[in-house]
């Protein structure tokens, strides 16, 4: 019992010393000048030029593209109705009905391009897509 008391007293005395005497080995985090490498990388892309849009849609062919995401067909069905009701002579093609293989989510450039080619076969003057979500 006495030995334990002495031991505890010794520990307290050491801790008290540590608390009052600054230890030159414990330095603050240093402010320094860094030379660092930018981790972001560079976006590579071939610049895109946009074609001119039709000035109106009268008599034009509009292809609607759905990617099978829920309710996308309902959205585009309603859009198709509005186009027919409001634009004289417009022809609406629902791509998912005439080209069912366009009804997919295209996770990447290659599939997107393949879908675009299938839509182009329908000879649209305009394509409207409702992708997500």
């Amino acid at each position: 019992m006495k030995n334990r008391w002495l031991r505890d007293l010794g520990i307290c005395m050491v801790l008290a010393q540590l608390a009052t005497v600054p230890n030159p080995g414990w330095a603050k985090e240093a402010v320094q000048q860094w030379e660092l490498v930018n981790p972001a990388g560079v976006i590579k892309s071939d610049p895109v030029k946009f074609v001119a849009r039709p000035t109106d849609l009268e008599g034009k062919t509009v292809v609607l593209r759905w990617n099978a995401k829920p309710n996308g067909d309902i959205l585009l069905n309603r859009l198709g109705e509005l186009l027919v009701q409001n634009i004289k002579g417009v022809k609406v093609i629902k791509a998912w009905e005439v080209a069912p293989d366009t009804r997919i989510i295209s996770y990447g450039h290659a599939t997107s391009l393949a879908v675009a080619k299938k839509l182009a076969v329908l000879k649209p003057d305009l394509v409207i897509a409702a992708p997500a979500d």
Partner: protein, 438 residues
């Protein structure tokens, strides 16, 4: 192709849409933004939204012109820029976070010295271009992998494995784009096989995919830093994950426990066509796994019956809702003790695989009703489903997790304890395996 377009993203997804357009080479594109959500709302509400949006759609179709026609001039991807900053390590971390060069955990400042040291771990040229990381599509070079490896605290000797992992992810069929951008709670599973597991001390036994394995943690962290920084996969726009999760920080990355393969069972990389002496990485985009905690079964048959209610493709609305998904591969990471039950029954790996496919089934009626109704309404979907599975489409049909037993991939993972794991992959992703090269 010379055809004008209009895209209708929802208000929550227009940020991702703009980033995608920029990554394809355009500063902007004609959008008609519809208030979120579109999915999950009634027909009348959706029609009302379309009615309100109609004038904007017409304007985008006929009157839109790009405000600017060109992106800024492109820099070369190599060498990466070097810049100067003054501060403490904490200040560097704060700056990196503000520039979106961090995912919120500490990084080692990527000094040219650390980069040079990291590049000693590979004989490949630092200017070698590996590909473009989606969705931002910035170019990834060997040098840039080393930068992220340095930030993550990797050792130089990890570089060959890390390079194999990112090369596998950059294969289109890995669908890294989907994993990086989807609303799902997605991550990566990375399985490492062959001599490199022991050479580098890659965790493959107890807690293989967990903490305390430096190669696993640091390589996984480096991969996810690449996705977030080079790929721009971060919420709220580049990464649309509804909830996110810890797999955004470090993937499920582990070595197969080849020491505890049942006798006669080949390791996973041999299943994939590699030699046993090859070191191979295999990657897959996945949802969080289900832990099959089975302490009760004494035979493999009992064990398989326990899987039936847990192992499900329904996490991703499975093969039922989208017939192409009938051919989705699924991963079973068998704990060694569960694997031994199959071995005691004298089953080889293929026998277990076939039995799993036959026994682990769930009724179609468990799938969401709108999914089932949709398939009934679309004749080619119903036909595609029945052709893929070889089963009639009815509410009583018990559906296997995938259309063919050979689509069930089996890996022995972890150490002692009666746990196995079932991983549902993300949509349109398949395992991609790459040889580890010096």
């Amino acid at each position: 192709m010379g055809i004008p377009t209009v895209t209708i993203p929802t208000s929550e997804f227009v940020g991702l849409a703009r980033d995608t357009v920029r990554s394809e080479g355009a500063a902007e594109a004609p959008f008609a933004v519809i208030p979120h959500p579109v999915a999950g709302i009634g027909d009348a509400d959706l029609r009302a939204k379309v009615d309100s949006l109609f004038p904007q759609i017409l304007s985008a179709a006929t009157a839109w012109k790009p405000a600017s026609t060109e992106l800024a001039p492109q820099k070369q991807p190599y060498p990466a820029d070097v810049f100067k900053v003054t501060g403490t390590v904490a200040d560097v971390n704060k700056m990196f976070m503000s520039r979106k060069w961090s995912i919120g955990l500490p990084i080692y400042p990527p000094t040219p010295e650390r980069l040079a040291e990291m590049l000693k771990g590979t004989s490949r040229n630092p200017d070698e271009i590996l590909g473009q990381v989606p969705p931002r599509m910035a170019t990834l070079t060997v040098e840039l992998v080393a930068v992220h490896a340095a930030m993550a605290g990797c050792k130089p000797e990890y570089m060959p494995v890390l390079l194999a992992i990112v090369e596998a992810l950059l294969e289109p069929k890995a669908n890294w784009l989907g994993v990086n951008t989807s609303t799902g709670t997605l991550g990566l599973m990375i399985v490492i096989n062959g001599p490199v597991v022991k050479e580098l001390g890659i965790g493959s036994g107890q807690g293989a995919a967990g903490k305390a394995n430096h190669p696993n943690s640091s390589m996984g962290y480096a991969v996810n830093l690449v996705a977030a920084i080079v790929g721009g996969s971060r919420p709220p726009d580049g990464d649309k994950s509804t909830f996110g999760g810890p797999q955004d920080f470090v993937p499920w990355i582990f070595g197969e426990n080849e020491d505890r393969l049942p006798k006669g069972w080949p390791p996973y990389h041999v299943d994939r066509g590699f030699k046993r002496t090859d070191s191979v990485v295999s990657v897959l985009g996945i949802y969080p796994p289900v832990d099959l905690t089975d302490h009760w079964s004494r035979t493999v048959q009992e064990n398989l019956s326990a899987w039936a209610s847990l192992a499900t493709p329904r996490i991703n609305a499975g093969g039922v809702c989208r017939p192409p998904m009938a051919l989705t591969p699924y991963f079973v990471v068998l704990g060694p003790e569960h694997a031994q039950m199959a071995a005691r029954a004298g089953w080889g790996k293929d026998q277990f695989r076939k039995a799993f496919w036959e026994e682990v089934r769930q009724p179609i009626s468990w799938y969401p009703k709108p999914c089932i109704d949709y398939i009934k309404e679309v004749p080619e979907y119903k036909l595609a489903f029945e052709k893929a599975y070889g089963l009639p489409f009815s509410g009583e049909t018990l559906l296997p997790v995938t259309a063919k037993p050979e689509l069930i991939h089996i890996v022995i993972g972890g150490g002692s304890g009666r746990h196995s794991h079932f991983f549902t992959p993300f949509y349109e992703t398949v395992p991609v395996s790459k040889l580890v090269k010096e």
